[in-house]
Symmetry: C2
Subunit: 404 residues, 2 copies
Amino acid sequence: MSVYQATTSAPVNIACIKYWGKRDTKLILPTNSSLSVTLDQDHLRSTTTSRADTSFDKDRLWLNGIEEEIKDGGRLATCIKEMKKLRREVEDKNSNEPKLSTFAVHICSRNNFPTAAGLASSASGFAALVSSLAALYALPASPSQLSLIARQGSGSACRSLFGGFVAWEQGSLPDGSDSLAIEVAPQSHWPDIHALICVVSDDKKGTSSTSGMQRTVETSPLLQHRIKNVVPVRMEAIKKAILARDFDSFARITMQDSNQFHAVALDTDPPIFYMNDVSRAIIALVTEYNRVSVENGGMLKAAYTYDAGPNAVIYTPKENIKDIVSIIVKYFPQAEAFKDPFGLFGAQGVGEGGVVQGFNAAVAKPFSVGAVKGLIHTRVGDGPRVLAESETLLGANGLPKVVA
Amino acid sequence: MSVYQATTSAPVNIACIKYWGKRDTKLILPTNSSLSVTLDQDHLRSTTTSRADTSFDKDRLWLNGIEEEIKDGGRLATCIKEMKKLRREVEDKNSNEPKLSTFAVHICSRNNFPTAAGLASSASGFAALVSSLAALYALPASPSQLSLIARQGSGSACRSLFGGFVAWEQGSLPDGSDSLAIEVAPQSHWPDIHALICVVSDDKKGTSSTSGMQRTVETSPLLQHRIKNVVPVRMEAIKKAILARDFDSFARITMQDSNQFHAVALDTDPPIFYMNDVSRAIIALVTEYNRVSVENGGMLKAAYTYDAGPNAVIYTPKENIKDIVSIIVKYFPQAEAFKDPFGLFGAQGVGEGGVVQGFNAAVAKPFSVGAVKGLIHTRVGDGPRVLAESETLLGANGLPKVVA
């Protein structure tokens, strides 16, 4: 008897134009379009195995080894139901297809990055879930079609169905059928874009993005202006910058939009803060690094962006990443040696870091070890991957394999 | 021979609706109206003596004992010139008046609060300058007329010409003749409004408000929406709240407008931050204090507001000030005992502070001694005062008296 299963991995994405606010909380329809860079799965990924079997009693899901409840009407249940519906269409068209849509599924998912890193795993997680079910069900669906379902799991997950540079077009239809992800440009168009993730320590439990964004929708007088007048212009401008590989414009828009997202969070009642003094210091360092370049007749060389937490993601062309790592390490000494996946620093490592010539060292004060808990160097990457059979996360008994 | 001199004191004011942005940088005409509470001169004041004498060679000014250059065309020179012009009108009408407008003046000014406190002294300073010259020149000008001149020294100085609750109406005329302060309500209307100033330590030199606000005007897409659509509504609403002594509305608008000012600062390119982690923690504490009240069926009991720096000013009716001081002292232990000008705590003092019942202590972490460097308890106060002859800051030789 056949084993019906598939294993896929899906990437993390980090937005340049931020998603903040839903016009429909059930369907997860956003108040504005957004745009992100997909990060390399070689470094950060969710991996998911989905298996359909007549012996399974009910749909079950394990995340990082722990079973999660699939609540009726909840986001997980919605995604699984929608995927089964697409499978049924396949079966209805071809009666030879096994009736997988009638089988229960076991789903096992793992992230290769710690939850404590404060990286949103819901985007890669729901993208991996949807793409593993799509592979299991051999669906003829495009990534954009799958993005409609991933979106209902976690809004930003829809953008992890593509590699490269991805737009989530807000759409206008009440049923959400035009609120989907499209590829602006593939990874291969601009593979030079690297990213340094600065994992920032925080004392304070922040407001969840789900509740925070709706409080902004309800109370910020500035949000509507952002939605109607600012984001549409920025979406067009950043797409143009990406197509032209114009890093200067890409960086300017990315930083402006990160700041404006945090501005509308602050304009919320009561206000929402995600950035802390460490985040502010990283902004000051990137701003100074860019100032030196611009004053010498050059262009912007790096762009920070912050999601709903204090972690910084710094985008920069590959040629500048060494500068950026050196600056960050100088101000934020690391407990562990910088993991140097691209071999930037050779055997001697980054050492104590340093700044570029003309850099005003007084723009920030050096912090203690631990203020930035870790650094992850990665780059733009590809979309979900279907992995080999041998990569399955489920054992023969249909339960998660025990990880050593 | 007569000595022509006058000594006045003028108060600090702290805005509830924030001034941020000029439409005319020379005349200091704002992009929006603003509204402030005048604080009690018994606690915080600038004191200024102006003397006119035929023996003086030129106009001179000393601030806190140090002579300041009066630059041609600068703000000080403009204010002195405008005041002399008003004096000339008096002399032209009555030929018996001594021709003081033709004499040079010596001006000596002192603040009774340290510059290190980070309290803007330009408002009280220019208000004291203008009111001392008005007294010296025996001008028939109203405080609103004088506010037109103080405004050209420092925008927010115009609001220190009145006590109580003061609006700076932005006006629309190109010459600025309708951009002036008016009294919304005197101190006596609502004397119950107290204020706790939390002087916050900061590592970082912030962006000056003069340059910061113009960068916001030039680069923030959200500012224009604030100016056109948000502030006009808030100005009317907060005036109504003041007239009705409706603290709940007053507090809500004050906090929202502080947050929106910092939001547009953050929406500036590069972004401007004035609040730090200590400021954020104080916001969390006031928010929690209000939450407890509201959840028990009460109203907002305190309102924070932040100017272009990390210091918090907390407005609260007198009955709650003890709660507020106790909460702040609990999270921000003080190196020196709380100066208790209103005798709230009696002989035993505030001790280690504490929170009210139902307060979730986890909303902020306790900070170390020095994070809040000092606390100043004050309240709504009156407008500029003309002081006795004996209070003069100038010696018989026309130079600043030496202060012991």
